[in-house]
Symmetry: C2
Subunit: 238 residues, 2 copies
DNA sequence: TGCAGAAACTTCACGGCGTATAGTTTCTGC
DNA sequence: GCAGAAACTATACGCCGTGAAGTTTCTGCA
């Protein structure tokens, strides 16, 4: 009918404009960093007035929050895909696939990494619970899957763990415990520690702090993965 | 004499004003984050015009670079002091002292940590070679000292290392090799990896990404240190 | 002691930013 | 065809860094 047709048209246009705003914002970010995400620059690029954007996002921070969500989701998709498309027979291969997907995504999308994990934009205040809680949860759940895959090999190394469930966020456990019912708290702690290790090496590299120390961050990261397998008690494949 | 006395006076006033600019800038940063470091806000606080600051720093970026240098140096001092004031008999204790000093400094000076390691300020472009190469070097050299202290225990774990000297920055090696003549490339790689581990855990904590996952980042960090000793082959003290 | 010149500082101006308010155009559904 | 909603523009305010030009204050020498 004309009714739904017309309403549909308006909604479609609206959705298209919203998408274009985000697309332009992301291209500005990719070219010049998160700082370049300004309403006026986006509007300029789109042939609009900056205030027109307020019809789509109540404030600039809301736009940034949405972008963080999208970008973080893309990262989560990347690592999830790497995990799922790698055969599960050899946990070492699978864990390496996850970790390499993480680093590769960060190196391909350095500004996205900064957007997610850094101070995204001048004066940006993240909303309560963080800007992209779902995507962050997905990444952490993925990390727990790593730990779970390694746990048969690693468990004897973490016998005297001091962790219990109260050490972790209930929202995280809600996702994690049903998926891996047999996993103890120590394994979740291990997952978070691995997150820290990988995040640290990658972020030092992305932010350029490694460049002044080593000429081959790639080699360093592969060494990290090799040693990680050691830490997890996983026999080195050949 | 009056001559030197007068010239000395001008220079002293100049040095005092420079120091006050930096002091005010750092207090703004501590209160409201690196973004709050604006020439106008500093000038307002000092009862001056923003342009007066141009007599002391050619651009805002130069001021920020100087601040990064100062703050990074403070961090380097903190970890160096922790290292040097801890008895060297037990490498585990000493390494833990270093790592805890690193994390504690970051938690006490979160905005300083962001200034050093994050995107400090909108549009800030770090100068060639990084904003604080000396302080960064000192931290990396300190890390190599950790690796050197652990090396007698750890060396057999890194027999089949693939690193050679060409994998590292000459400027780093210039500092490191004379200080630790017997240390192989693998130990430097180990130092950088440890840096990554600690940096990752601490920066996830400082940036609030851990808060949504664990309720006790402190416990996680201590577990990290305990496992680090394992990785280094250092027997756990009691 | 007076005075040229340098140093320190202010004033004014420009373009950029987020965003609030008010006004205008365009489309929708009856 | 027309009321009203939705989309968008115009104007304005207070921030920001910074350049140019002008003013005040201090310094060192005659």
């Amino acid at each position: 009918m004309t009714v739904t047709g017309s309403r549909g048209r308006r909604e479609r246009l609206r959705a298209e404009t919203t998408a274009e705003i985000k697309k332009v914002a992301l291209s500005l970010m990719a070219k010049s960093g998160p700082d370049a995400i300004t309403l006026r620059a986006i509007a300029r690029e789109m042939g609009m007035t900056a205030n027109a954007i307020y019809g789509y996002f109540p404030t600039r921070d809301d736009l940034v929050t949405t972008l963080i969500n999208d970008v973080y989701t893309a990262l989560a998709d990347a690592v999830d895909t790497a995990w799922e498309t790698t055969p599960s027979a050899d946990p070492a291969v699978r864990i390496e696939a996850w970790a390499n997907a993480f680093r590769t995504w960060a190196l391909v999308n350095p500004q996205g990494f900064r957007l997610i994990y850094g101070d995204p934009v001048p004066g940006y205040q993240a909303p309560e619970g963080g800007p992209a809680p779902d995507a962050a949860r997905r990444v952490c759940t993925g990390l727990t899957a790593l730990a779970a895959a390694a746990w048969p090999y690693a468990r004897h190394l973490y016998q005297d763990s001091v962790f219990d469930w109260s050490d972790f966020d209930p929202g995280l456990l809600e996702k994690v415990r049903p998926a891996f019912p047999d996993l103890p708290p120590a394994a979740v702690a291990l997952a978070l520690r691995i997150w820290g290790h990988l995040h640290g090496l990658v972020s030092l590299e992305v932010y350029g702090h490694m460049r002044t120390q080593t000429t081959s961050p790639e080699k360093l990261f592969q060494e990290e993965l090799a040693q990680l397998m050691q830490t997890l008690g996983i026999p080195r494949r050949r």
